[in-house]
Subunit: 336 residues, 4 copies
């Protein structure tokens, strides 16, 4: 099957390489507005055509699928064009800049009987796959809370805020691993640095409420000289800590430990460091994007949705949208 | 100088031991409602009298100060009695259960010309003292954000929620080290376990806003089999990470690192782990309570306020109060 | 039962406190050559007598046992006096300064029908007790190797070298947990700082050989500004890592993981961080000396040997002796 | 300049890729005995010729240099052929299987006026470059000891033992960073698993003695399910810890801290975790082999030796040889 990559910046480069190396896909086009980049790709991937005009790709009937890694506000137009041209669409996260347009893409994919895939790459990491397994096997017990911290190395975006930049990763993990329907969102955030007249939040805290009175919380932050990427999932039986910056102990699962019965036990517990055993399963060291490229091919071939299809993309965009409204309204509850 | 300890539970025990071992203080009384406990103390501290009635202490003119480690809702009455009896008062944190009563205690102390000290023990740890030094020496640059996580070993209180139990530590550190005036609070929380008919929050997230558009955030949680106690202070020059569970690297200070100028540098940064150097100053291993007992003595003797006086206590209680109101009102902004 | 503590320096202080607080023992004497120290203890432990002459204790028939925490070269004389006076002896590690004198103490204890206990405190830590359990339950499989590192904070002794100072801890753990009979020792070491004319080794490496062609290795070092205390036990099924400086993950047990079959798997393994799962059992936070004091009482009462009796003491002294000879002879093999 | 890669196994693959991507080098040949591998490279590197006979390369006058990544016992013959053909030689570590043959290669390179480079890749990692800088700037003070641990994921070699497999890394770091002349070696080791009738050591401990009474120690081990790669360099002013498995704190430098003066300070120190400050410089995340390929080109062009030339290779082989002799002789001192 033939695929075209539209938008060949940092992430587009990784897409080009992975589709090129894939035994399933034939890389048919590299499309970008920067001719100098395209010239480079012409040497690296001699079998692929290059173009600065994505309409050329839409008009080429031999192309089965397109992978879109352009700025967020352009996703809707390009993806819609692809879907309506009968091509499967792989769209960089977040799917679109509004839930309304995300819904339209889902409809367009259905109408044209093609797959709409959202590139929530994190879902394809061995660590998140392992978390999903653990939860599906009821290792953690009843869900209690989801707590995420994603703090990055002072890399500021000038077009989107920290929520739209970083939270899609964690929202997609929440959707995939927990899957609960959110009913409302509170969020607070600050624009700690100014860019001309724009106020772009560089730090934000988001609470997501679920129907069963449980919650998820997200801490996203651009203002750091050190990376932190940590997710805690609290369950009635066990607690899972996912530290993505660790090489050898990415996942730790803690037993809840003995229940505390009396005053003396409480005093003892105050000086303990933990109440139960911990184990840390081995996590493979495989490139997520490679797994995702294989999965996309298999789903397209079988005519079925990927595990990060339009539904997943919409879930994430809805939360992003609600978080932004809440931030602009002093943290007030935004119902979904 | 003579001191009486009122309330001899877990923390009261530590107070008894520290005042007993102090070369400055003479432990005059141990007061508790549990006679069995008192009998134990009579053996351990033979020079101290024991009583179940704190009025006896108030009536004893030889007593210079009282240390109150009773349940929160009783602090106001006992502390007021002490202050009006002309005794210096050391009150367990939080100072009271309302900002109104905290204000009255401050007034009573002033009127009676005695010291009102709040036992925010954390302030007296070598690590927090070092943080204060670093900030006072402008090591971090302009304040950007304060981010705290305090997650505990499944120890539930049945009378107060997790905010009143755990957040006083972090609010007092915020007051002491940053000292900015909060203008508003948002908070969300959930009661994940039921106790009869009571709904007591066991997990909560609190945002505190300051006048200069910076913020602080607090994550408090009882639902964990592993302890996490971490505070990040972001500054324009450096970032400080205080991990209180570490024995040998409690404090880490990260340089902000080089500023990122162009596209290639951004791509490079995406695969880096940090952008600047880090250093970790040595932190002594001294019992905070010992330092606090010495400081209280020196302040009482000199007739001046301790570094955690009524003002500090009131600051903390105001934030607790506002957080609770916000939680009960779906996270809405509570102005101070 | 009544006990006397002879030698009240750093460790003697801990012994005094633990015997004083024990419900089993009555602290009868504190004996030291420093009258000023004794005066201090007279206040702290008013029920205990003080003396500068240990013969007084030997002559007191009401004393059941003595705990000896004097310099190593004095252990033999004092312990022998105690044993011959029919008193149980608790001797600070190492038991004596030669295996010949250690053997004589074992004989004296047997002849006088009293217990000879060596204070290898480490054996009574919850972590070492857990390691022993794991090995006894065959969790690790066949023993392969024992690898220990004990690096200390630049604390130099001026009478004994680093081997005699630090290795007794690890040799006693080897004896208790592995228990194999050593057949030979190689050791190398250096005196990196001079003290007058004495050459006292401050860094040393010791290999212990067992009959079944397995080995143990010990790295002891005074020259460090940071503490490292780590033991690895390799087994055919699992590997155990004991990091005593960690508060919450003192023990980690690693599965050996899948066996590697072919060239591609080897290449994969080269980029992995580990090959199997890991678990970290909870380890209690209990003072080892308290457990040891209880155990000593029970054994004395029951008339049976403690788990660190003279045999354990002799095992340790033999290895110390052999290591010293090997160091002085350029690392040559010293057979036992 | 044109280069040929001889031996295209695991490491040869990395060499091919790096020379291919280099702007300095033209990859002229891929040579291996396995035609199937060569067919693969013909597709990946279409500009390079493939051959199973390295004599073909030696006879090609357009080839400037060869990179040899064949089994150790073949290094000498191939490298000698290359040097005598007037080609620069890049030889995989260890340089040869004996110091005699290493010396002959050094002579042959001199006679033919070409460069003999040993691929001690570790030297070109940003971390080792940083260590060298620190030592050259006298950050650590006088050298005291070098202590290395290299424990690998159960990857057994069937032709060489663990010393020849793993120690070259650490010996080359010792040579590059410390550079002291070794005068003698002790080593012990065990073959813990049997391979037919061969006894191949899978665990070994090596002590290297220097003239000034300092020492280095090496712990190499194949028997582990977890990787450990740690080097400690002790100096009179500071101590450096290089943990190569850490992503964000590869290097830590500890101040020696205050000197301890009296008995009370000693007791205090016993409960401290470290005695001085620590800092951890940022270490870039750059592929060492890329740096090495650039350095090799610059040195060849300038007609000067690389920082890991034949001298470095000989230093390493001498220590390997001495360690093996000592192991076979029960750890006895082998003088160099």
């Amino acid at each position: 099957m033939k695929i075209a990559v539209i938008g060949c910046g940092y992430w587009g480069n990784h897409l080009l390489r992975n589709f090129y190396q894939s035994k399933d896909w034939e890389l048919a086009y590299a499309c970008d507005t920067d001719q100098k980049q395209l010239d480079k790709f012409a040497v690296m991937y001699p079998e692929a055509k290059t173009t600065t005009d994505y309409a050329e790709i839409m008009a080429d009937n031999s192309v089965d699928a397109v992978a879109i890694a352009t700025p967020v506000h352009t996703h809707y137009d390009i993806a819609l064009a692809a879907l309506e041209a009968g091509k499967h669409a792989w769209v960089e996260k977040p799917l679109t800049d509004s839930s309304a347009s995300a819904r339209k893409l889902i409809e367009a994919a259905e109408k044209n009987n093609v797959q709409l895939h959202v590139d929530h790459t994190y879902i394809y990491t061995p660590a998140v796959q392992k978390i999903k397994d653990l939860i599906d096997n009821d290792e953690l017990g009843d869900f209690r809370y989801f707590d995420s911290i994603r703090v990055n190395l002072g890399l500021f975006q000038h077009d989107i805020n920290v929520v739209w930049d970083l939270a899609p990763h964690d929202f997609s993990i929440l959707h995939y691993c927990i899957g609960k329907k959110p009913i409302a969102v509170n969020a607070t955030g600050k624009a700690l640095e100014k860019y001309g007249t724009k106020e772009i939040e560089s730090i934000a805290y988001i609470t997501v409420h679920f129907e069963d009175n449980t919650m998820a919380h997200f801490n996203v932050n651009w203002m750091s000289p050190v990376k932190i990427r940590q997710i805690i999932v609290g369950g009635s039986k066990k607690m899972l800590v996912f530290n993505d910056m660790s090489t050898d102990e990415k996942l730790k699962i803690y037993d809840s430990g003995v229940s505390i019965q009396n005053r003396e036990e409480i005093y003892d517990t105050l000086i303990q460091y933990r109440t139960g055993d911990m184990y840390s399963p081995r996590v493979e060291n495989k490139e997520a994007l490679k797994t995702e490229v294989e999965h996309f091919y298999e789903c397209v071939k079988a005519g079925k949705a990927t595990i990060t299809d339009g539904t997943s993309g919409l879930y994430v965009v809805q939360l992003l949208e609600a978080a932004e409204i809440s931030i602009k309204n002093n943290g007030k509850l935004v119902e979904l």
